[in-house]
Assembly symmetry: C2
Homo-oligomer: 355 residues x 2
């Protein structure tokens, strides 16, 4: 098999063992003679998979009592309207830290008043906006903890006087999180916890049932809580692959181990950018730097060599390092499953090109 270094921004690299185990189950689940995708979602086999996956979420994140873990279709984008449907009675506060945060706020406007209490749109979202005073009269505060496009991340659990709702699509399970500080955490699985096709929702039950509007059955979190996400046919494959990914995280030592590995990887690349390179420079504000997505461009005097570097990097097996069009340059996504050796290979490649 061709050896590559997978820096894709998502869907992205996943643990090889998770992929291999899932491929095996796809061919023959537990010696049953059936593929994973040929079994009933009401079968004991799938019930065990679903339950273990929920238990791993609770164990790895230390989710307290009173919260539920849901696995839903439609991605985080569907949650933008679904959370507002369920939680927004009159007013909500949003932190505008990137385009996905803006999209979340846009959907909420259909259900009530939206106050943008902090924004970094003035500098193309190159920093994480300071969250000052949080208004007390809102139903919730919504934040996006990591901004994939711009390489910024909050990376701490803030205190909020109102229920805190966080889109953690791109940094969930990359560090320990104090879940008790949040009313709801959600995201698409396709970065650190699995393949595309399933969204995770961690929601405090006490938060629900307060809005007056009628909620369509499939958009009501209480439907999925009551049925353990099995109200209708769930994305069976994605939940299986997620379970395998979480098993791998646990085997590595859990979220503390993930945080240490992610810090090492980021330090390696940021340190090269800050202390050595004359050709590449990071784009995100240093205090806001993401450990998941490391964005960099060529310095003024080297502009124009981007394509040449891209060709050299590709030849060296680098995949997915083109920056998002709204930032330009390059982006190395360094999610949980990316080994340190891949970051080292990228730095070596950059150093060699520079010389």
């Amino acid at each position: 098999m061709k050896q590559v270094h997978n820096f894709n921004a998502g869907p992205c690299i996943l643990p090889r063992v998770a992929i291999e185990n899932t491929a095996q189950a796809l061919l023959d689940l537990n010696g049953s003679g059936l593929s994973l995708i040929e079994i009933s979602h009401r079968s004991k086999d799938f019930e065990a998979i679903n339950n273990e996956c929920i238990a791993l979420w609770k164990e790895l994140l230390g989710i307290p009592e009173g919260y539920h873990v849901l696995f839903l279709g439609g991605g985080a984008s569907l949650q933008f309207c679904m959370l507002a449907y369920n939680l927004l009675s009159t007013k909500a506060a949003y932190v505008e830290s990137g385009v996905w945060a803006k999209k979340a706020a846009k959907e909420a406007k259909l259900f009530g008043e939206v106050k943008v209490i902090a924004s970094s749109s003035d500098k193309n979202f190159s920093y994480y906006p300071a969250i000052g005073d949080i208004p007390q009269d809102v139903d919730y505060l919504h934040i996006t903890t990591n901004n994939t496009i711009y390489g910024t991340e909050l990376r701490r659990d803030i205190d909020s006087p109102v229920p805190l709702v966080a889109d953690m699509s791109s940094d969930i399970m990359s560090r320990p999180v104090d879940v008790s500080k949040y009313a709801m955490i959600y995201g698409g699985a396709q970065k650190n916890v699995g393949p595309a096709g399933v969204a995770f929702v961690i929601v405090k039950e006490a938060l629900l049932g307060k809005v007056q509007r009628q909620i369509p059955t499939m958009l009501d979190y209480r439907t999925h809580i009551a049925e353990k996400s099995l109200f209708n046919t769930p994305p069976v494959f994605a939940i299986y692959a997620m379970r395998e990914t979480l098993r791998w995280i646990k085997a590595q030592g859990g979220l503390q181990a993930m945080a240490e590995l992610n810090q090492k990887k980021a330090d390696l690349l940021y340190s090269y950018l800050d202390n050595e390179s004359k050709m590449f420079v990071g784009t995100a504000d240093k205090a806001s730097r993401s450990l998941m997505n490391i964005c960099f461009v060529m310095t003024e005097q080297h502009k124009g060599k981007e394509e040449e570097f891209m060709n050299v990097a590709k030849a060296a097996g680098m995949v997915g390092i083109k920056g998002h069009r709204s930032v330009g340059g390059f982006r190395a996504s360094t999610y949980n499953a990316l080994p340190l050796s891949s970051v080292q290979a990228l730095v070596d490649c950059m150093r060699k090109f520079e010389q």
Copy 2:
């Protein structure tokens, strides 16, 4: 690998070649060194997969100009509210042919008036209700073409003076369909066309944009039409496996070949029930019988032997033949990928037990 006969009602049997090709792509997509679930949904590789899958839908069903094919998360159940969001201005007509049809109608009530114009609830949905006069003053007529639980099926394309919307979750691609008679056809993929985790929507563009309400972005069909279902990260794996399943259908000779095979399988089992068996009897009205789900129970004088038969059948490799709790007895689902030899094995097993 253990040899079984997979009669699961869904998720269900899929073509072995589709599973094997998907498992291979899961390990290494096109020799790229990346798993299918590790690539960007914006990559050329995935674009080609998505486009081919759309093209196969259009080719196999002969979808006319003016229709779009969408692949969405959340299952058919999410479509129950989504279609009403998009299409229901004041009033809609529903045919109540089973619990899924009832669920679809229930969601529509949040958006307008629902007229149930035909129902078979008086006899536990054991027949397909006659669709008489269709009111002219409704925005659309909704039907469920196959009722998995009760083993009934419409199996023809009716003429409707108002836009016809059909949930074809469990008989899509089992026979040629005159798509031009429908305004919208939708369903979960997890029967004849792929794994759980993706819903298909075939929708006539001229039907959209007529309701006055604001529609959340992810629930607006126009969002997904504009972005070829790539507005947000799609269920990549499920779309790949669907493409492989459709390739198999095409290689078998398309929907005409599927219809002939499905007829043969159903004839074999129904004919045994009608003409030979003294122990088993079909539950669905003969004129309404499904070619996808064949429901039967034990006759009065043999009641009580269900468990014994179930054990014998299991030992003979039969999987998934327990009937739904609301009908009881047995159900053999005979979707596209089930070979005739599996139905023969079931009939042999029933005959042997009876003797």
